[in-house]
């Protein structure tokens, strides 16, 4: 009955209650949508990085971590790959030969990372093949095909089917040059990646360095990012002689950005709620001041001050939660909608590619963000109610009854 009283009291002044409910709803909705946009950017950054290059986790020899030399190969890499493949959550495993080298055209040259791959297994791990804008992804029959980024092609002044010379240090330390023909040109979300990475078939590299099959890097792709811990930790334990790192270790800046983002978003929503706190306090204070006589009567007839206090707290919590829930629903609708159709940012393509971001931003907000938010709304309501409730219970019934 006390809750019923609190609820009905909210609707005594509908206009005033609706104004504050709208303020809470709109403030929260905007705050959440802004947070979802930021999280969407992070999601996009991390997903495109995983998709394009990193995979969910990678394996190297421990020596490779230091100098990244061609000779720092993974011992018994084929066994490692077969063991990993037995895990049902693994959707793709690709072995790579990695070489730092120089790509030269007739007019220019550029430092590049050469990735010697099996084009079929690589397709199951990364998505560069989806970003081909000219030519194809290793679909020709001839040897020494190379797939390069559009930015590198521009820098070197070359086109599809142009010749390119790769120079790098071989296993014995000698400098090796190999001529390749551009079979495909890709354009990903990251212009930096496009400028500095070239893909060639591992057989072509092995022939140039005159070596049997080797691997510098094993890239693993899982069915979802949530399974990283459950797959990568056991593998890390099993191959303790190797360096097994998940995407967060490989790209710590992304992990750091995520941690910062969560804190930043909580502070951001906290600031919005803090501003709303004053509005809620004001509304409740007006409501209390309008009902001085009523509080006097309630206390005169025997309502304990603690119950009066509780009633005002309940009114404020109800008011805040109505606004909060409406704000949450509106935000969820917006986040869902823009999470599926995306926000078109093609006007900022150049700038976004520097940040490895696509031109369509899909909003998302992790579920873990919501429970603290509910607690924050609750805390805001209680803090906002405190002063008006205190004011009410300090009233003297004898005087309050005669207030008109």
């Amino acid at each position: 009955m006390l809750l019923k009283l609190a609820w009905r009291n909210i609707w005594r002044n509908k206009k005033r209650s609706l104004i504050i409910i709208s303020a809470i709803a709109v403030g929260l909705c905007c705050g959440l949508f802004a947070s979802a946009t930021m999280f969407g950017m992070w999601d996009s950054m991390i997903n495109t990085t995983i998709d394009r290059d990193l995979g969910h986790f990678q394996i190297h020899s421990k020596a490779f971590e230091d100098e990244k030399l061609l000779t720092d190969t993974i011992p018994n890499f084929e066994n490692v790959i077969s063991t990993i493949k037995t895990n049902k959550n693994v959707t793709g495993v690709s072995s790579r030969i990695l070489i730092e080298g120089m790509a030269s055209s007739a007019t220019s040259s550029n430092g590049v990372r050469i990735l010697g791959i099996d084009s079929e297994t690589e397709k199951k791990v990364t998505s560069v093949y989806k970003h081909i804008v000219k030519g194809s992804y290793f679909e020709e029959n001839w040897n020494n095909q190379i797939v390069i980024g559009e930015k590198l092609a521009d820098n070197l002044g070359i086109k599809e089917k142009s010749k390119i010379v790769l120079g790098f240090q071989g296993i014995d330390g000698s400098i090796i040059y190999g001529a390749f023909r551009v079979t495909g040109i890709f354009r990903t979300e990251s212009s930096i990646f496009d400028k500095s990475n070239v893909f060639v078939k591992e057989d072509d590299i092995l022939r140039l360095i005159n070596s049997d099959k080797i691997s510098n890097e094993i890239v693993v792709r899982l069915s979802s990012v949530q399974q990283v811990d459950s797959v990568y930790i056991p593998i890390k334990k099993e191959f303790s002689n190797l360096s097994v790192k998940y995407w967060g270790d490989i790209a710590p800046e992304l992990k750091f950005y995520y941690n910062m983002l969560t804190t930043q978003m909580n502070i951001f929503v906290g600031i919005i709620l803090f501003a709303l706190l004053f509005g809620i306090t004001n509304t409740m204070l007006m409501s209390v001041m309008e009902r001085v006589r009523e509080f006097g009567v309630l206390m005169a007839v025997g309502m304990k001050r603690s119950r009066v206090f509780f009633m005002i707290i309940m009114e404020t919590i109800s008011l805040s939660f109505i606004g909060g829930i409406i704000g949450l629903i509106l935000a969820l609708i917006l986040i869902q909608y823009f999470g599926s159709v995306g926000i078109n940012l093609s006007a900022f393509t150049e700038g976004l590619s520097q940040w490895s971001l696509g031109t369509r931003l899909y909003t998302s907000l992790p579920f873990s963000f919501y429970p603290p938010l509910v607690l924050m709304i609750l805390a805001t309501a209680i803090i906002a109610a405190f002063y008006p409730a205190l004011k009410a219970i300090k009233l003297k019934p004898a005087t309050a009854i005669r207030t008109y």
Binding site: M1, L2, K4, L5, R8, N9, W11, R12, R293, E294, V297, L298, M299, A300, V301, G302, M303, K304, R305, R307, K396, P397, A398, I401
Partner: protein
Amino acid sequence: MALIELNQVSKIYDETIVPIHAVDNVDLKIEKGEFTAIVGPSGSGKTTMLNLIGGLDQPTSGNIIVDGTDISTYKPDALINFRLHHIGFVFQAYNLIPVFTAKENVEFIMLLQNISKVKREKKAIEFLQAVGLQDRINSKPTELSGGQQQRVAVARALASTPSFVLADEPTANLDSVSAESLLDLMEDLNRKHNMTFVFSTHDQRVIKRAHRIVTLQDGKIKSDELNPVHIKNET
């Protein structure tokens, strides 16, 4: 032992600036079953005395014994609890909870007394029937006339099964028909259920119906007498 006993009770306002003796050294005893009116001109101390008897205010000196309990030293929370269980209030401006229906207004007091929902709903309807509002149990105060609202207030006062009912100018806002009807009701409750009523009033209609009239002037009791009209009617 008297139901209400005031011994050497004084209430002084603004003690440090210009002291106002709202109630000045008053001795008064009211027995169970009385139908007493406290009368006097404005500023004579009627309301202050009623507040003191009702535990809404504390005396500056003296003691107030209600139902055998000295309430003059009670802390505010203890007084609230005492009022809930011992005193029924009827106010001049009815003072019902506007968002509640008549039934809910009566029920609310019993909720504060932690009476179960089923029991309090049943009792609330009984009390509203007793004050003749069985047809208006689901009406909100704004849907009731002044007289009907005051009847709900009486039902609310009775709902806590108090030792006595304090009524502060209960007829001040009522037309003569409603006022007479309300007084009939109160007198009936007094006669049939031996319910004690203490009014503060300067309404002649109430004074005429009171059994005992205590007249105040400048915070002191000027006279305390049985109503001759009532004595005549009794004989």
